[in-house]
C-alpha cells in the first residue's frame, strides 16, 4: 500500500473499526471459519478464560476448526494477555487493530522459533522505548507450543512445532517491517 492508503486505513480502523467489528454481515460473506464461534469447544475455552479475568474479548476465528485465531484478555490488574495461533499468523494485524480498539494504542511484534517452548506459558513482551502502556503477555498455541499439522499452515508458515521466541510492544504506528525485525524479550517468563 502507498503511504496515503496506509494512513487512511489506519484512520478508518481507529475511527470506525469498533463499529465495523460489530457489523452484522450477510452469511455468505463470512468465512466458514467464522462459524467456529458457535462451536462448543471454542465457547468452552472462552468460558475458562472468563473465570479468571476481568474482561475477555474472543476475536474472529479462522483456520483450523478447533483453534481460535486469537483472544485478547484484559486482566483485573490492567495487564493484557494475547493468545494467538502461529498457524493463523495473518492475525497479527488483527490483534493490533483489536488492541487499538480496546484503547491500548500499542501493537505487538513477535518472533517465532522452531521446536517446543523451553518453558511452558506466556511470554511477557518487552516495551520499546517510549511505550508506557499496560504489561502485555503473549501465549502461543497450547501453553506456549504450537504444532502445525499438514494442511493447517494457511500457506503462511511451515508445518511443525513452533514456540514464541520473543515479543515486544511498540507504539501504535510502528511499521510492520519493524515488527518483523523486532527481538524483544526472549523466552518464557513463566508468567
Amino acid at each position: 500500500m502507498s503511504r496515503f492508503t496506509e494512513h487512511l486505513w489506519r484512520d478508518l480502523v481507529r475511527e470506525h473499526g469498533a463499529r465495523i467489528v460489530h457489523t452484522d454481515r450477510p452469511e455468505p460473506a463470512r468465512a466458514r471459519g467464522a462459524r467456529v464461534l458457535r462451536r462448543p469447544r471454542v465457547l468452552a475455552g472462552s468460558t475458562l478464560v472468563l473465570a479468571g479475568v476481568g474482561a475477555v474479548l474472543l476475536v474472529a476465528l479462522s483456520g483450523p476448526a478447533t483453534q481460535p485465531a486469537f483472544a485478547i484478555t484484559t486482566n483485573s490488574d490492567g495487564s493484557v494477555l494475547v493468545e494467538l495461533s502461529y498457524a493463523q499468523n495473518q492475525n497479527l494485524p488483527q490483534v493490533n487493530q483489536k488492541l487499538a480498539q480496546m484503547g491500548t494504542h500499542e501493537q505487538i511484534g513477535i518472533q517465532m522459533g522452531t521446536g517446543p517452548a523451553p518453558v511452558p506459558g506466556p511470554v511477557t513482551c518487552k516495551p520499546a522505548p517510549g511505550v508506557s502502556g499496560p504489561t502485555v503477555r503473549v501465549l502461543n498455541g497450547t501453553n506456549g507450543t504450537e504444532v502445525i499439522k499438514p494442511g493447517e499452515s494457511g500457506d503462511n508458515t511451515a508445518e511443525g512445532t513452533f514456540h514464541l521466541v520473543s515479543c515486544g510492544v511498540y507504539p501504535e504506528n510502528t511499521s510492520l517491517n519493524t515488527l518483523r525485525g523486532y527481538t524483544g524479550n526472549t523466552g518464557n517468563t513463566g508468567g
Partner: protein, 184 residues
C-alpha cells in the same frame, strides 16, 4: 534455532475473511487504488483527491452493514458511493465553500503523501484526457465510459453503481463509444 517472522503477509492476503473488519479490509485493499484513480482523473489537487477518497471510505464504513455482496460487487457498491461523493463535492464547490468545510476537515497530507498523490494524478493524465474528450457527451454516457473503460468495472457493476438497469446501461455505453469514435 531459526526464527520466523509472524507478521509476514500483513495485508496481501486474499483468503476468505473471518470477521467483518477483515472483510472490510479486503474491500478496501481491492478498491482503494481504483477509487483514488477515479478522483485523480477529476481533480488536480492532491489534498482534494485524498479528501474525496477518504470521504468515500468513511461512508463505506458507515454503510457497510447495508452492503450485501450477493446483490453486487464491492467495487460497484463503492463506485456508487464515490459518484455521489463527487457529485456533492461539485455542488458544494459551486457554492464556493472551502474544502475543509465540505469534507468535514480530514487531516492534511504530509509532504510525502502530497508527492505520492501528485504522481498518481499525473499517472491518470491519459484517463483525464479521455474524460476531456467525453465532455461533449451527456453525463450519463460519460460516466458509462469512465466506469467501464477507465475504472475497469464490468457493465453489470457499472450499471449497479449508477443505479440503472443493465439494458439501459449497455445502450448508454454503446451510444457513448459511437459518439467518441465519430468525434475522433
Amino acid at each position: 534455532m531459526p526464527e520466523r517472522s509472524v507478521a509476514v503477509r500483513a495485508r496481501s492476503r486474499g483468503g476468505v475473511p473471518s470477521s467483518p473488519l477483515e472483510e472490510f479490509e479486503h474491500v478496501y485493499l481491492r478498491n482503494v487504488d481504483v477509487v483514488m484513480g477515479y478522483f485523480a482523473r477529476r481533480c488536480r489537487d492532491p489534498q482534494t483527491v485524498a479528501d474525496l477518497t477518504s470521504e468515500t471510505f468513511v461512508r463505506a464504513a458507515d454503510g457497510f452493514a447495508g452492503f450485501d455482496p450477493r446483490r453486487g460487487s464491492d467495487r460497484a457498491w463503492l463506485f456508487g458511493i464515490a459518484t455521489r461523493v463527487f457529485a456533492r463535492h461539485c455542488e458544494q464547490s459551486a457554492d464556493g465553500r472551502e474544502a475543509a468545510a465540505r469534507l468535514g476537515g480530514y487531516r492534511s497530507l504530509d509532504a510525502d503523501e502530497i508527492e505520492e498523490l501528485a504522481e498518481r494524478i499525473d499517472a491518470e493524465r491519459e484517463g483525464a484526457a479521455l474524460m476531456q474528450r467525453c465532455e461533449q457527451l451527456p453525463a450519463v454516457e460519460r460516466a458509462a465510459v469512465e466506469l467501464v473503460d477507465l475504472a475497469g468495472l464490468t457493465p453489470k457493476e457499472a450499471a449497479m453503481a449508477l443505479g440503472v438497469s443493465r439494458v439501459a446501461f449497455r445502450q448508454r455505453l454503446s451510444r457513448a463509444r459511437t459518439r467518441l469514435r465519430e468525434g475522433a
